[in-house]
Symmetry: D2
Subunit: 359 residues, 4 copies
Amino acid sequence: MGNSFGKLFKITSFGESHGGAVGVIVDGCPANIEISEEEIQIELDRRKPGQSKIVTPRKEADAVQILSGLYEGKTTGTPICLIVFNKDANPKAYEHLKEVFRPSHADYTYLEKYGHRNHEGGGRSSARETIARVAAAAIAQKFLKETINIDTVGYVSQVHTISCSIDRNTVTREQVEATIVRCPHKESAELMIEHIEKARKDGDSLGGIVECVIRNVPAGLGEPAFDKLKADLAKAMMSIPATMGFDIGSGFSSIHMTGSEHNDAFILKNGDVGTRTNFSGGTQGGISNGEDIYFRVAFKPTATIFKEQDTLTKDLEPVKLAAKGRHDPCVIPRAVPIVEAMANLVVMDHLLRQNAYQF
Amino acid sequence: MGNSFGKLFKITSFGESHGGAVGVIVDGCPANIEISEEEIQIELDRRKPGQSKIVTPRKEADAVQILSGLYEGKTTGTPICLIVFNKDANPKAYEHLKEVFRPSHADYTYLEKYGHRNHEGGGRSSARETIARVAAAAIAQKFLKETINIDTVGYVSQVHTISCSIDRNTVTREQVEATIVRCPHKESAELMIEHIEKARKDGDSLGGIVECVIRNVPAGLGEPAFDKLKADLAKAMMSIPATMGFDIGSGFSSIHMTGSEHNDAFILKNGDVGTRTNFSGGTQGGISNGEDIYFRVAFKPTATIFKEQDTLTKDLEPVKLAAKGRHDPCVIPRAVPIVEAMANLVVMDHLLRQNAYQF
Amino acid sequence: MGNSFGKLFKITSFGESHGGAVGVIVDGCPANIEISEEEIQIELDRRKPGQSKIVTPRKEADAVQILSGLYEGKTTGTPICLIVFNKDANPKAYEHLKEVFRPSHADYTYLEKYGHRNHEGGGRSSARETIARVAAAAIAQKFLKETINIDTVGYVSQVHTISCSIDRNTVTREQVEATIVRCPHKESAELMIEHIEKARKDGDSLGGIVECVIRNVPAGLGEPAFDKLKADLAKAMMSIPATMGFDIGSGFSSIHMTGSEHNDAFILKNGDVGTRTNFSGGTQGGISNGEDIYFRVAFKPTATIFKEQDTLTKDLEPVKLAAKGRHDPCVIPRAVPIVEAMANLVVMDHLLRQNAYQF
Amino acid sequence: MGNSFGKLFKITSFGESHGGAVGVIVDGCPANIEISEEEIQIELDRRKPGQSKIVTPRKEADAVQILSGLYEGKTTGTPICLIVFNKDANPKAYEHLKEVFRPSHADYTYLEKYGHRNHEGGGRSSARETIARVAAAAIAQKFLKETINIDTVGYVSQVHTISCSIDRNTVTREQVEATIVRCPHKESAELMIEHIEKARKDGDSLGGIVECVIRNVPAGLGEPAFDKLKADLAKAMMSIPATMGFDIGSGFSSIHMTGSEHNDAFILKNGDVGTRTNFSGGTQGGISNGEDIYFRVAFKPTATIFKEQDTLTKDLEPVKLAAKGRHDPCVIPRAVPIVEAMANLVVMDHLLRQNAYQF
């Protein structure tokens, strides 16, 4: 279970890292959206391995195919199957990992859960699963942009000890894409890249923070009680591999303020309701208020490293383990499109949910 | 929508702050659990207003009644309705708020969403809704404790600028309940209480952090992809009113470590698989690994304050607003049982989900 | 599980026959519907016991209370709790049934499922549960009627061996309500009433058929594959206690026709697409086509009879059992509002689902 | 929406008749089931076109591929993608149908719903979609058989005016497969085959009844209120294309009996609880009682015929239409494995649901 996300724009993800394919079914996509494999591919290319010198060199084109749900270039309202066949699948490369639990990976937990697992490249627990999310969200992104001008921009604000402050009001995707680390602050970006290259040489890995802003979300999205917009965003982000934390608006730093400092006064903006500050991060009572939604996601340093580590085999024998082969010293740059994808999926779903009740 | 939580242990919450009642239906509770109104009341009493000098003085017994789903003191497997009739409902006290949007409250967003709202005490957006969660989770808590000895302990580790470090391995509920602020570190607790009392006098409010540890969760709970244990915990916590952030295990601080520092080496513990460190916070690949699950939840300073604030009426007239009447200067002490409740609901649901597949 | 119905207009039902109350939460009701307890009561009165000489004489006012979700007489979009407290609860009357399995009742299956059951009046398996459905659907019915003039009329077309043919195009609720058996064909109605009274005297029971027509459903409701309108109607109807069969349009009798006889030719009706015949029953490919939707529901003779029957105790002792006390010789007249209720719930849910995708 | 079925054994179906592929994701399959493409193919071959002289001659191998969710021949608990690439896709053959609504087909309703449709071979509304169900259910069938010996046998009992009575207690799949029409009564089968061949020559089509029995279902499956076993079976069957009716146990014929005739007396069978008769069809209160579950499904004569019919174009022009090309004069023989498939999916799902609560 657990491989579906969304209630009205529902995606169901499948596939393993070194199986035949990874893919996704989108059920509940509005009809009449013009979308092409090329448009989806643009997003997948931002996620794909081998895109720069600081990410994993696995060679995958990650070429997407649309198997159903479109006709004459437009969605038909019926399920869309998007699929990426694995090319660089090399199960043999993982032979030495069949009997051993890689520290801080899902090897042990999958075996405990299922009693049987595909260990090759992490099998189902591989971050290759996120291809499904990025591909599906490319359709949502296009719809949101064209229909109500919603604009989602993610970027890297911290890698390990190197952090910077980005103006979330003005940042653009062009600025983000200008550096291979996807940090729009150029000086910091250079430091981050150096830092990541050093980690690669050390056989070590680094974590960081991806921030994201969603603009032009109309007021009224999100539901009371459990399906608050912030709650669904939290779930969406914490379902991405390697995430360790999420906060929205002022987030953890809200604690250092008092209520009178933190409350967002309502004021007139262009003749409509707005807020003077936006510590709330664009939602109040779990429902969007029309201001920008922004949040942060913390990623741990990835678990695959080349340094020798202590661990156990599945027969409970202590062993030393050092990863071989390919290695992603910092997933943060590739995580940016995944964070954006999940944000777009959440907003799309809540837009449809809200729309259901408009008569 | 959005008033249900859980897939197999599913709760549906209803009721407004100053309506007739707040309550909950539990659908999917195992049969044969012995539970009484008194046992549920113990948890509600930890959440109720007026329990100490540092929380809102609203006078509510919050006395729970079981309307269905039990027979001869034991659950029957059919839906359990738990209800708390509102006693101190005083809709008139909110007359002055009918036309005005309280800053950082849900007044504006509910009106935008629904076009019609109950403004009395926040109506549905009131934190009184959390009664439903605490009541329902009391049943889950008993089952988890009795069936597999799962133990959930929440506590306050920070109020505004006053923070402390608690040993999550040893903290007990008795230690937590020993202070009215529910911080098990006595010296810090006294400072926090002073600080909250000052905020009350100032008509201001304070936020803080609730930490929580869940012990004895068996390995194997949680699902791949979207319904990861950490993702469902994140959603659960971020669905609580006033929450701004969530992190698990090493959380946001994981960023300052490298992979070789952060990875949790597998070692033998009592002849079984364990980890030397537990930066992962008890889950890997979204699935529990048998180690303690622990996480933090950030609460903003609550929005109701007595200080004068700028805002708008629903006719877009700028006005000055100062709350009258009752006021909760810091919700953190009362948030502890709510955080525990949501944690127990998530674990209970995933326990049933995992159990479904054991043959 | 299993106590919720609907995806966007979702009801969750609770309560036992002789427990404190039966009730329902409606989650996902549009805001701004004017509805009163009196309007809901009208529908409940059509379902309630003791309404005529041919139904069970249990004395229940079945007076509904609205506990949440309304403000100033209009729905707020938040969960609506409707509750009916049981008045004529007399658990002692069922003492003799505690240890014995009533034939064709749910006594045995509930005990096998849950290992613990409330035997009083059937507990949760009692048809009193349908109060929840009728109450919730009264709101849907009002919305459907006022918003798009949808009109649902159910009626009795057969009781045991007495059947009649009703013109489904013209039948009105007034005609239906004109006889206590809810058969709009007066001569047949009289025969049915006589027949039911005889069954009562014999301590026996009778089944029959309820037919239902839904008018003015716009084309386009229903979903491909599994959530076809006919499939959801089938589930809705077969979830009513004592139902044994469902067919739609020409139903089982379609088998005697060939394709060329059965196909519904498309023709112009008032300048729009219509069909010459309507053997399809208003849906094609699972989706409404704008023609009247009509279907039949078969109810078995109810299981409670006064005649002596063979059965077993829960200790597997063979015994003779004859019911005592009250007895409903034919549930068909009271089933009419339940069938209509379920039909309205299905249409309401699919209307919201379809509306979600209209941009 | 609407392309998923099941709660814990959840299938999501995708694909169009003449698109690239049809397929299914199974999410929630227990791990460690040995299953091969060959075993799934056996079931698909029973459904596939061209299997005999009385079904559509479309030439499709319908060869299934397993794209994910298995490792070393056994399920891993992660999503299983089963896919059948379309070989005999010939979109051009449907050019003449692009602008016209075929009577009693889904052409008009899909266009009304979505505003854009794939008309080729019915697109998503084609019965080719049922490949997904049969393929997914083959895994459930194997698990049910091996784990608890559940045995599902469907068969044809009526084609148009030719009906026969089959002993549901003894009928075997071997007997069913012995005739191409899947009627285990040989004399009737021969008449049915003749009758179907005549219909083909006439360019007309015939409907009929598929009956199905499910043996060895343990007592306790099914849920109170809405997810009754009979309700979920009804939905499952009525979601199959061309179905018009469903009844269970004594079904519509129960109406001719009185309660004293219809009630199933509990008696001892092999030292355990059984019933003397089984008019209930194996469920009481919506929950299985351990007796055989049996039901009937009515299929209309299929809509595709070669005879000339009146209809409209999408510009509302009246036209005459006669189908060209291939034609299935009677879908009943191929419907048998689909009915069995849906039955197995329902039982599998409820088995997991019940298992979730066993501690």
